[in-house]
Symmetry: C2
Subunit: 137 residues, 2 copies
């Protein structure tokens, strides 16, 4: 155990491995204000707590459901403004759930579209196999 290890915190390299996010990206997120609670030691080295890791999960969730970093920052800032923004934050999350619902419906629609295309191509394939066509159809 390194001398610098303390209070159950881990450094950026360890976070990178655990969360499969490059240290570059983590620093970038920090620079963009997405990780305001990450503490620094006297050398400036970041020390991530479990809470910070949970934040990363939340950021990943919002990002992968279509929110860009600027919008995520609004949520982060809102969180650190405290209890007065609770209702706004709950609303924001509910709207994001609506986004997810739409995404799922959209993806299902695309699934159907590809199914239809596969059917068309399969018919073409059978037609070719039966020698009904000598040229490209």
């Amino acid at each position: 155990m390194k001398k610098s290890d303390q209070n159950n915190t881990i450094t950026i390299g360890q976070v990178s491995k655990i969360k499969q996010i490059s240290a570059y990206t983590l620093r970038y997120y920090d620079k963009q204000g997405l990780l305001p609670k990450v503490i620094r030691d006297k050398n400036g080295t970041r020390h991530f707590t479990n809470e910070d890791l949970q934040w990363l999960d939340m950021i990943k969730c919002l990002k992968n459901t279509g929110m860009n970093l600027e919008e995520i920052k609004v949520f982060v800032d809102s969180t650190y403004q405290g209890a007065t923004t609770l209702v706004a934050r709950i609303d924001l999350l509910k709207r994001q759930q609506d986004v997810i619902k739409e995404t799922i419906l959209e993806q299902q629609k695309y699934m159907d579209q590809i199914n239809a295309k596969i059917d068309v191509l399969n018919k073409e394939l059978i037609s070719v196999e039966n020698g009904k066509s000598e040229t490209n159809k």
Copy 2:
């Protein structure tokens, strides 16, 4: 009806309106080889057929399910290579369906995660409303 209208084709501006894609983007797609069948008149003006519009739907489908333009071009090129690539194209579409399935599962996971977060925030809200906290929690 304009003199140039013929054979049920429409120009890029009309496609733009109908498909809600900017003419810039359509030209960009064409430049990238995603629209190889669009015909030109003697002035170089593009004339889109119904088949081209269907292609645009397919491109949109593949793009919005996570495929990048380079990968889409592989599919487009493959299509214009004719019947010898039918099996490969069907496989590609089936793999894309797998991608969609994963996307939907992932999105549902994020939905759950946000639900959990909303629960936490709602409890915080109730706590604040009951005056159990004077400071930011």
